[in-house]
Amino acid sequence: MLEVTNLDVRYGAIHAIRGVSLSVPEGMVVTLIGANGAGKTTILRTLSGLLRATGGGVRFLGDEITGLPSHQIVKRGLVHIPEGRIVFANMSVLENLELGAYLRRDREVKSDLERVFVLFPRLKERIHQSAGTLSGGEQQMLAIGRGLMSRPRFLLMDEPSLGLAPLLVQGIFEIVREIHRQGTTILLVEQNAHMALQVADFAYVLESGHIVMSGPAAEIAQDPRVRDAYLGGA
């Protein structure tokens, strides 16, 4: 569904991503794990058009999407839920969710809103509250809910568990599973490799801008090097 070949990204003199190739087949959850600064977020930002690749290509559903502006990529159903719970803090929960459906003109926006509220009942309770006053976990729920409002066929999720209390982390991963069950393909970027490998079917390990290992998530989770470096030797 998503094919990345030889992706290269530079910020000025810094060569952030060096020839990364990966593929995400339809219906799968694929995770990209790696340490802080390995380039995970850079890859997602390039896939969603926020950054320009300096080399290589991205194909989505068979079409070349390298270099397209973000809004056209979103229109194709490739939706990026950014890291750091960037919600529109100056707007209400409802307005945030409505912005997620910005490109849609169909009649099912209302019923999708209800689906988001089934997934996150907390958001319904706070529907008219300003998003900036929500707790960290609630903001993450809102960011995910807002992403779902654009009816993604493919979700790029950047560190959904970042900075959340352990109990909430469990909940967020449950949500990731549920979204996948409902038919969305997911590329999940995580520092919490332990959880990510449990949810994912396939995994890539990124180190200093290139892929050093890939394989079925269960195998990667058993690999001694991965266990040492990312799973706390557990």
């Binding site: 969603s48 058009g49 926020l50 502006p69 973000s70 809004h71 979103v74 229109k75 939706v79 990026h80 839920i81 950014p82 960037i86 919600v87 529109f88 803090a89 100056n90 707007m91 307005e95 409505e98 912005l99 997620g100 910005y102 490109l103 807002r146 654009s150």
Partner: protein, 300 residues
């Protein structure tokens, strides 16, 4: 007391013109974090567009009245909106994504370009704006209000309500608020940010042109440098209210207008132009984020 009320009316009238110009500064700043120093010159060009429209419908020959007013306003606002879009596309867009200083210097360049193009095309000698409304003075409890002042108050109220509607009730307005919060997050929602920026320039420039026409109705001497001082003052108004904040621009404009008329009424008209900059210095010392602005820590 009566004199005070009179000053109040005069202050609100000129203040609402500053507010209209300040709105353009603040909207562009809100979206791009960039001060468009050519905005005062867009105000000037808008006034000239109004002058041409008035000449074209024969307002100077007595064809005045409400219909003429509407035509002049629409023509000036439309022309300035097109100008704003052109400036954004050919001057500011190419330097977007570069250090902010580049955009600032570009804006100063655009400003000089518009002023000198104005001298070349319109001529350096002042032009007289025709009377669009039959001159009349109404008296309310001893306070005199001219028909032009009524027009100014009604016109700017209408425009501000219209802007409020656009920003808070329409799709494009919601997109503007999203872009102003975070351009990246907005594009991930599928919002075409370039188009939103273009729309913001168009809207801001149209408001400046409306201010230009209103200003010319009260002070009917038009020259290509008329935007310099008014533009600076409106910029002060925007900073005073909290730049990037839409209600702030309105408050800042009104405060500035009132301060000016009160100073020239009770102290001396010599200080009329100085008070704007005194206010600027005071606000920058006391509350740099502006009257309605919230302090934001710069992201590093």
């Amino acid at each position: 007391m009566q004199e005070f009320l009179q000053q109040l009316v005069n202050g609100i009238a000129i203040g609402s013109i500053y507010a209209l110009i300040a709105l353009g500064y603040t909207m562009v700043y809100g979206i791009l974090r960039f001060v468009n120093f050519a905005h005062g010159d867009v105000f000037m060009v808008g006034a000239f567009f109004g002058l041409f429209a008035a000449g074209w419908i024969g307002a100077s020959a007595g064809a005045n009245g409400p219909a003429a007013v509407v035509v002049v306003f629409l023509a000036a606002m439309f022309g300035a909106a097109v100008l704003g879009v052109i400036l954004e596309r050919f001057a500011y867009k190419p330097v977007r994504g570069q250090p902010r200083l580049n955009a600032l210097i570009t804006a100063i360049g655009v400003s000089l370009f518009l002023e000198n193009a104005g001298i070349l095309i319109f001529g350096a000698d002042p032009k007289t704006f025709p009377e669009l409304l039959p001159p009349a003075n109404y008296s309310v409890g001893g306070v005199k209000i001219s028909s032009t002042q009524v027009m100014t108050l009604a016109g700017s109220c209408l425009l501000m309500l219209g802007l409020n509607f656009v920003v808070y009730r329409t799709r494009i307005g919601k997109a503007m608020r999203a872009v102003s919060f975070s351009r990246d997050a907005a594009s991930l929602m599928g919002i075409p940010t370039d188009r939103v920026i273009t729309a913001t320039f168009a809207l801001g420039s149209a408001l400046a042109a409306a201010a230009g026409v209103l200003f010319s109705m009260s002070y009917p001497r038009l020259d290509p440098l008329m935007g310099v001082m008014q533009g600076l003052k409106a910029f002060v108004a925007a900073v005073l209210g909290g730049i990037g904040n839409i209600p702030g621009a309105v408050v800042g404009g009104l405060v500035l207008g009132l301060a000016e008329t009160l100073v020239s009424g009770y102290l001396s008209s010599t200080y009329r132009d100085a008070i704007a900059f005194v206010l600027l210095i005071v606000i920058l010392i006391v509350k740099p984020s502006g009257l309605l602005g919230r302090a934001v820590s710069e992201k590093v």
